[in-house]
Symmetry: C2
Subunit: 320 residues, 2 copies
């Protein structure tokens, strides 16, 4: 029987969004629930199953659903489990795919958010037709989904692609949420950009900036973006610093897998040329000669609000 639909689930720390998606990548209907509402994962999954049934109801029968794909924090594709996710209330190892499958009777595959984004770009987005590319997600953290020979790189344990945690500064590096120092994420995540702003404001006493109008502990990457768009020199310099470090990191990633493209995804990618120009300039300057002028730098082509669900849904096509 033809199965023309998949379900995508984006499990975030705050909200969970569910969508039913067709073969052209259209989200036909969606629903959501509060992830953080349930202290008990059993209760959460019961409600999630209800939302799924609700989203399917007027569109298709369960038999027409090829599979469910879920993007979750610390999702392990091999085990189908969420493993020790720091931003979720449920601790330890949660056999998420199995528990959800028992409730809805549709096969479930799961991976982490950045891998879901990479599958989404390959299926519906900027990486259509590419066999070798890397998606870098620039959000609260920095994640990555790596595709080699047309396949997602999971590694031998399912945890490959932690490119937010390569070390960019080996001396005097910023403390990172992972417990180490100098990680790419500590500088180039949205949080990292806000940290850079605070550093600049504190260290450059004499420099003027409209960022000084905001209480220093409340500055966000959005504030830095707004200031830069308004021509604020310090804010522009903060984006230049961020982009330069991303470019340095990308040059090393290219030495590893020589991708056709690196695709920026997530909140910070909305900064457009403000981030892309310094990234491109810095990456080209840092590349080995054989790689120069070969690697495309692209923005995600998935619509921001739909991207996470679409990405996860693409995994639904690959189930079983």
């Amino acid at each position: 029987m033809d199965k023309p639909y998949v379900i995508g689930i984006d499990v975030g720390g705050t909200n969970t969004v569910v969508g039913i998606v067709d073969k052209r990548g259209q989200i036909l209907r969606s629903g959501s629930l509060k992830t953080a509402k349930h202290a008990n994962v059993e209760d959460y999954l019961d409600e999630l199953a209800e939302v799924i049934e609700d989203v399917i109801k007027d569109i298709a029968t369960k038999e027409q659903i090829k599979g469910i794909g879920a993007g979750t924090p610390n999702g392990n594709y091999f085990t189908g489990s969420i493993e020790f996710a720091p931003n979720l209330r449920w601790k330890g190892i949660i056999p998420f795919a199995q528990m959800l499958e028992e409730r809805v009777g549709i096969p479930v595959a799961l991976t982490n958010d950045a891998n879901a984004a990479a599958i989404g770009e390959m299926t519906y987005g900027a990486a259509r037709g590419m066999k070798d590319f890397i998606v870098i997600t620039l959000g609260t953290g920095v994640g990555s989904g790596i595709v080699v020979n047309g396949q997602l790189v999971y590694g031998h344990d399912g945890f490959a692609g932690e490119l937010g945690h390569v070390i960019m500064r080996r001396s005097n590096g910023r403390v990172c949420g992972c417990g180490r120092s100098g990680c790419l994420e500590a500088y180039t995540s949205a949080t990292g950009v806000a940290r850079t702003a605070r550093e600049y404001l504190e260290l450059q006493h004499d420099a003027k900036s409209q960022l000084r109008n905001i209480p220093i502990d409340e500055i966000t990457s959005k504030d830095v973006f707004d200031a830069a768009m308004a021509g604020d020199e310090m804010a522009k310099e903060i984006f230049r610093f961020t982009g330069e470090m991303l470019g340095e990191a990308f040059a090393d990633f290219v030495a590893f897998s020589s991708p056709e493209a690196i695709i920026l995804f997530g909140g910070l990618a909305k900064a457009g040329d403000l981030i892309m120009n310094p990234v491109r300039e810095s990456m080209e300057r840092n590349l080995l000669p054989i790689f120069k002028n070969k690697v495309k730098l692209l923005f995600s082509e998935l619509k921001e609000s739909d991207a996470a669900v679409l990405g996860a849904s693409a995994l639904g096509w690959e189930v079983r």
Copy 2:
């Protein structure tokens, strides 16, 4: 017809070695010629074809040869060409596989030395049964062959796996042969170890070392090894420095592809525990928590003198 043999060719800057290999990875017969003798690549290939016929002669017919695999400097698997190899006399792009195939009538595949080593380890050596691993070659330079999902990572242009050229020191880094600064290779190749020795001897005026008995410009990594084995403190410290930097780099590589093992191959790997102990200690210290105590560090299991030919020969099984 059953084709029970392959030919492996190791093209080095000085010598070219040819071997006929059976399915168990036994080199049944080998021969060699001087790579550097011929200014003209046509003449070189004529002599190479003769050596191949000679090696085959008493063992098999051409029809029993599955394929020829060649490991060459700057060999591109996709194009079958040697492209701009700095250590060979023939400049520009040499369509090596095609030219050799025309001469001997056996299909030829080609890749760079480090990729050949990785295929060799997977077929006959320490990586048998593994689907995700990285071979690091520590010789005059530092090369790498990366395997993901059981497939060699060539990247979109055939040049992936240049892990000797990730940047380890972003300020005040050593100049590298690639024209940039701070590359892993500039520190952890055999040449890099000799450079470290010279730096230590010059900067630590008062430190005693038997390395001072050797004219400083003539010190090799072998001298440092001999001194370390004799208990020389400075020499041991040089290996510790080298191993620590390799361990830092390996921790980043693990964040990329989460391999089951990293395998050390080539001259410097002969230093054994002298290099492996600091590498292991440093890698574990630098790994993201989720990767700790998971990644095997191994030495190549290919016999040193045969390794390059065996590695290249393994590619012969995959031809066409």
